[in-house]
């Protein structure tokens, strides 16, 4: 982090503009943040979904960090992953032991997504269960939760809703769109759906189409939920969800987010009890205990039907089939790209990123790519300990300077 000069009430950024100092408090550099909501209603805001059906009205939950410039040209859209939410940085200030937003390592004053310079927007995507309309929302027709009557949606549909939000905020062109995993899929989709509205695209640890292995793993997760007797065809009561199924789905997910190396380092073959083997099927190993803990924690914060829909949206992401070929998919893109992968990510292996890069190069698009050394597996993009932030920062600086003369 670079040293920034400070004065009592204001400070100057490198462009010489005076920007307000973030309020002094205990909520870290981003400060206290608030979840905001906007509801899109009326004939201009009927979302016709790719898989048929439509949604209206539609609520979007989002957070923002930093200030939107007068010319509204400093916005960066952050797209979250499968189980993420709009709370990407800072603290809500609701509890003393609160953890910061999920990408606090990347977002804040002086960080890669520098909130002294950029206006960072993170919306909860369509179909999630954190404030944006999804399967847990109330269907205005029945006044009951949508559940399985919620229409199927795709990454493309998510991007459409994000576009509404940008229009609502009066932002025409994004400095960049960035996201990891499923968030990276949205970033790629942005470059394709709205080429003239995105200057830089940063897809991280992602793919242009969900792999066979990825679909297979998703299906096992779904089957865990669908076969839970408490699932009740999706009509489970809010206070008695298919917790076992959802927890198992999360356990499988968690395995795919780590690497053999990181699992070994974290847990080895260590036992929960020092006595070693119990010769029964309770949680003997620390890795088992960890997975159960993650599963149980997830059940308290996520919805089973939502998990089904989101994993499906991921499975259906396939730019090649959508457009005939990857070349055709990216041919109209106008953005610069920074593609990042991680060496130990086996859920979205580097080869899938390299393929995107190969095609972008073939098309003569401006692209940078690094397969970042890390033993953290797929989850690396959420963790500190590697150079992702520096790379994002260098890429954004290049964009600011106009990229090419």
């Amino acid at each position: 982090m670079t040293h920034r000069p400070t004065s009592p009430t204001a400070q100057s950024d490198s462009a010489g503009k005076t920007v307000p100092i973030p309020p002094e408090n205990n909520y870290g550099p981003v400060g206290q943040v608030e979840l905001q909501h906007v509801t899109f209603d009326g004939p201009d805001h009927v979302l016709n979904l790719e898989g048929g059906g439509s949604l209206s009205p539609l609520q979007v939950a989002y957070e923002t960090y930093g200030e939107l410039s007068k010319s509204k040209d400093n916005a960066i859209l952050v797209c979250h992953a499968l189980s993420g939410d709009a709370h990407a940085a800072g603290y809500h200030g609701h509890s003393p032991d609160e953890k910061p937003g999920w990408w606090d390592i990347l977002i804040g004053p002086g960080k890669a997504l520098d909130t002294d310079r950029y206006f960072v927007i993170c919306p909860n995507f369509l179909g999630s269960c954190y404030g944006t309309t999804g399967p847990t929302s109330t269907d205005p027709e029945t006044e009951q939760p949508y559940g399985l009557s919620f229409p199927f949606f795709t990454i493309k549909d998510m991007v459409e809703v994000q576009r509404w939000l940008l229009d609502h905020l009066g932002i025409d062109t994004l400095s960049a769109v960035i996201g990891g995993s499923m968030g990276g899929m949205q970033a790629l989709q942005w470059a394709i759906s709205y080429p003239e509205r995105v200057r830089g695209v940063i897809p991280i640890a992602t793919t242009s189409r969900m792999s066979t292995q990825g679909i297979a793993l998703n299906e096992v997760g779904r089957q865990a939920i669908l076969s839970d007797p408490k699932w009740l065809e999706g009509r489970y009561p809010k206070d008695d969800p298919p917790a076992r199924g959802l927890a198992i789905a999360r356990m499988i997910g968690h395995i795919t987010y780590l690497s053999e190396e990181s699992m070994h380092q974290k847990f080895g073959r260590r036992f929960v009890n020092g006595d070693g083997r119990s010769f029964n099927f309770s949680k003997d190993f620390q890795v088992e205990s960890y997975l159960h803990h993650q599963g149980d924690k997830f059940v308290r914060r996520f919805d089973a039907n939502t998990y089904l829909y989101l994993s499906r949206a991921m499975d259906y992401f396939d730019l090649e089939t959508d457009h005939g070929s990857l070349e055709k998919a990216f041919s109209h893109c106008l953005s610069s790209f920074l593609v990042l992968s991680f060496t130990s990510d086996w859920l979205f292996p580097a080869q899938q990123s390299a393929e995107i890069v190969h095609v972008l190069r073939k098309l003569g698009k401006e692209v940078s790519y690094c397969n970042i050394e890390s033993d953290q597996g797929h989850d690396a993009f959420l963790l500190p300990g590697h150079r992702m932030g520096d790379l994002v920062s260098g890429f954004l600086e290049r964009l600011r300077k106009g990229g090419t003369p």
């Binding site: 060496t343 890069v357 073939k362 401006e366 692209v367 790379l391 920062s393 600086e397 300077k401 003369p405």
Partner: protein
């Protein structure tokens, strides 16, 4: 199938060897020795591709001096990170594979700075570079300089010089070439040599330009070639 498999494996080990055991810091001075000469070739706003660009020192200089539209390819992850972090457009990957993604004559200049001796197939890379670029600048350590001749002929040792700063057991160089050999190759490939430049050792640790008797005197050579 199993043969292909083992070949792939070999290829992987080869790369691991290249990226992990070579101390590239040793070539830092040599790699920059011909930058002045390369810079005189570059025109304002040119599209320049640097193959094996390392941390992007040369690209950064050319960008600030000539406002080039830069791009680099580099196999070593740490170097790629460094280059992107400083605001350069660089992709991480193998040269041969990366070049297949590029269109004919899509670059004004392609740079092969001190890379043809560390790659498996220099001729193929040179041909590919000439396909994607209008002109190609190649630099390499000259193996016929008097220092190498002396060390080999009189001392009976494999040469270690400012442009070949490795022992036989830790060198990344799998090819060796001289000024004459390279001119000869250009003849065989029917390439036009547009410009040549040479450097020898300066007082202290640096390099200085050399004009006469390059094959005997130069530590490093630069050739600008086209089809």
């Amino acid at each position: 199938m199993s043969l292909i498999h083992s070949l792939r494996h070999l290829d992987e080990t080869d790369r691991t060897f290249q990226s992990e055991s070579v101390d590239w810091a040793l070539t830092k001075l040599r790699d920059r020795a011909l930058d002045d000469q390369i810079s005189t070739i570059v025109t304002k706003g040119a599209k320049v591709l640097d193959l094996g660009c390392g941390k992007g020192d040369l690209l950064a200089r050319l960008k600030s001096e000539h406002r080039i539209h830069e791009s680099g390819i580099e196999i070593e992850g740490e170097a790629v990170s460094e280059a992107i972090a400083r605001g350069l457009s660089v992709t991480h990957g193998d040269l041969e594979y990366s070049l297949t993604s590029m269109g004919d004559q899509s670059w004004d200049l392609v740079i092969l700075n001190q890379v043809i001796t560390v790659i498996r197939n220099p001729v193929a890379i040179l041909q590919e570079s000439l396909r994607v670029g209008r002109q190609v600048v190649v630099t390499f350590p000259n193996f016929a300089g008097w220092r190498t001749r002396y060390q080999l002929a009189l001392r009976g040792r494999l040469p270690v010089t400012p442009s070949l700063p490795y022992q036989w057991y830790d060198t990344p160089n799998i090819r060796l070439v001289t000024v004459k050999d390279f001119r000869n190759l250009c003849g065989q490939m029917e390439l036009k040599i547009l410009k040549e430049a040479f450097v020898g050792r300066a007082k202290g640790a640096g390099f200085r330009p050399i004009n006469a008797w390059p094959n005997l005197r130069a530590l490093s050579a630069m050739f600008l070639v086209s089809k």
